[in-house]
Structures are given as structure tokens and as C-alpha cells.
Amino acid sequence: MTLEPCQACEEISVSERVEPFVVERSGKKVTFEDRRMVCAACGNVSYSGSQLSQHELAHAAAVRELEGLLSAEELCAIRLKYKLRQTDMELILSTGPKTWTRWERGKVPQSKVADRFIRALASDPYLARRQMLAAGIKNPEAEEVFAQIERDDRRRAHATLREKLSHRPDVDRDGIAALAADVAFDAVHRAEPEAAAA
């Protein structure tokens, strides 16, 4: 084992160690194996090279697990589902620049409040579209995704209504209106779980 000089105490006593690192939130704990440089003389701990990213990613993943937050990969998938850019998400969420980029990079977890809003956006494309427009975002690719979702929902509602009417050839106008209202209501409320599963 090669010992390196310590930049804190000058002793030639620094070596790489793999030790458990405990992350604690609200009384719950997650432990991960942490690779780091430790000085046997003064106890100074530092992270070198790839240890840095490994530590930051593992720490953020532990926080996400403890707080039930979406993973960095899930955040990326939600954004790409709507073909939104990272800067679009920052505008929609009113965060500072580069914030969403950090969350997707995986080394910094999002807040619980942001996580809840992101989940709402993921499950409701119409909310996501409204928020995009409210933030003044011009994104033709995303707009096309939202337009396609709307076309699909309209086609589905139309097909459902036709199918229901086919079983009731003698239905009057009031009956058609009632059926249409039922179909529209179902379509709106079915959109949430289906969008979430997509």
C-alpha cells in the first residue's frame, strides 16, 4: 500500500479506505460503502478523482431513497417524455439556472416540494402544457407532443362514445348528451393514471 502525504498535516500517512457512510433523515438511515482518502495521523478525510463523483452520487441516491424522491433517471425520463429541455424545466419550476441539470446529473437531490410538483407534471400532460405556456416557453417539439396527446385523447373519447351509442340505436338527444358527458368525464379522469404509467 502506497501512502501519500497529507495536505492537512504533512505526514506521509494517507491511504485509500472503503468505509461505511451513514446518511440519516427523519430517524431513518441508509448506509453505503464509501471510498475515500484518510490520513492515519490526523484523521483528515478527502475525496480524490473518481471517489468524488461516486461519493456524491451515492449520497444523493441515499437521500432520494430516504425521502422517497424520484431518481435522476426518472427525472430525465419525465422531461424527455414531453421533449422538454432542461432549461424549460427550470422555468416551469421557477428554479435557478442549472438546478434541473444538477438534479439530472444525480449528485444533488431535488426538494420534496419540487418532487411533488414534478410528479404532478408527469401524471398530467395538460398541467405540464399549461405550465409550459405560463412560463412563456417556446418549444415546438414539446408542443407537438402535447398536441398528439390531446389528439389521442379526443380519438379515444370519440371511439368510446360511438361504441356506447351502437348499443343504444334509439337513444334521443338528451341520452347522447348524457353519454357524451360520461365519456368526457371518464377520459379526463383516466388520463392521470395512464399518463403516469407512460
Binding site: Q7, G49, S50, G96
Partner: protein
């Protein structure tokens, strides 16, 4: 007065994670501010200049071979003046690496 560790070398080392070492309190401070090491390296590469340099001193606790440079820089992401202390050290295999020993709110500003 110029920094002891040339900024050109410091910026070059900050481009590669492999050429860098951070002390634990630096990572802790980044985490408190919802930042990560990539943000710190980006600050060093693109924002840190001689205008932010304040002084050079032999690294504390008598280390004979390195000199630390002290900087004070406004960081937008922190909304604060931040104190930054760094040095360039040489590993046992002869390769140079950047060590950031301190990154915290500059209470003297």
C-alpha cells in the same frame, strides 16, 4: 501579486476530476448549498481570476512542499462571497493534482 499556483495550471487540473481532491468540509458546504463538485470545478475553470486572489501562504501545519492560494469570489449560485483555498500537490508517482482545502462563506467581506 500573483497566486503561487498559476491559475492556468489550476484551471487545467480542474477540468478533470481525476486531477482533483476535495476535503470533506468542501463537499459538505457544496451539499448545504445544493451544489456539487462539478459546479465548483466550473467556478474554478470559468470564473476564478487573479482579481479574486487575496494571498498565498505556506500550507498550514508546516507542510514544506506546498503553498496555498486564498481567493474570495462572488458565486451567484451561493448568493454569497465565498472563500476558496487551494493548492497544487504532487502525488508519489509524480503527477500533480489540485487540492481544494476550503470553500465557505467569506465572513471577511
Amino acid at each position: 501579486m500573483a497566486p503561487h499556483n498559476p491559475l492556468e495550471k489550476v484551471r487545467r487540473l480542474a477540468c478533470e476530476e481525476e486531477g482533483c481532491q476535495l476535503f470533506t468540509p468542501v463537499l459538505d458546504e457544496l451539499r448545504r448549498r445544493d451544489l456539487d463538485s462539478d459546479d465548483l470545478f466550473a467556478i474554478i475553470q470559468t470564473e476564478l481570476g487573479e482579481a479574486h486572489f487575496t494571498k498565498s501562504e505556506q500550507t498550514r501545519k508546516h507542510h514544506p512542499t506546498t503553498v496555498s492560494d486564498y481567493y474570495s469570489i462572488w458565486v451567484d449560485d451561493c448568493s454569497d462571497w465565498m472563500f476558496l483555498k487551494l493548492l497544487v500537490a504532487t502525488a508519489s508517482d509524480g503527477t500533480e493534482f489540485l487540492v481544494v482545502t476550503s470553500f465557505k462563506k467569506d465572513i471577511d467581506r
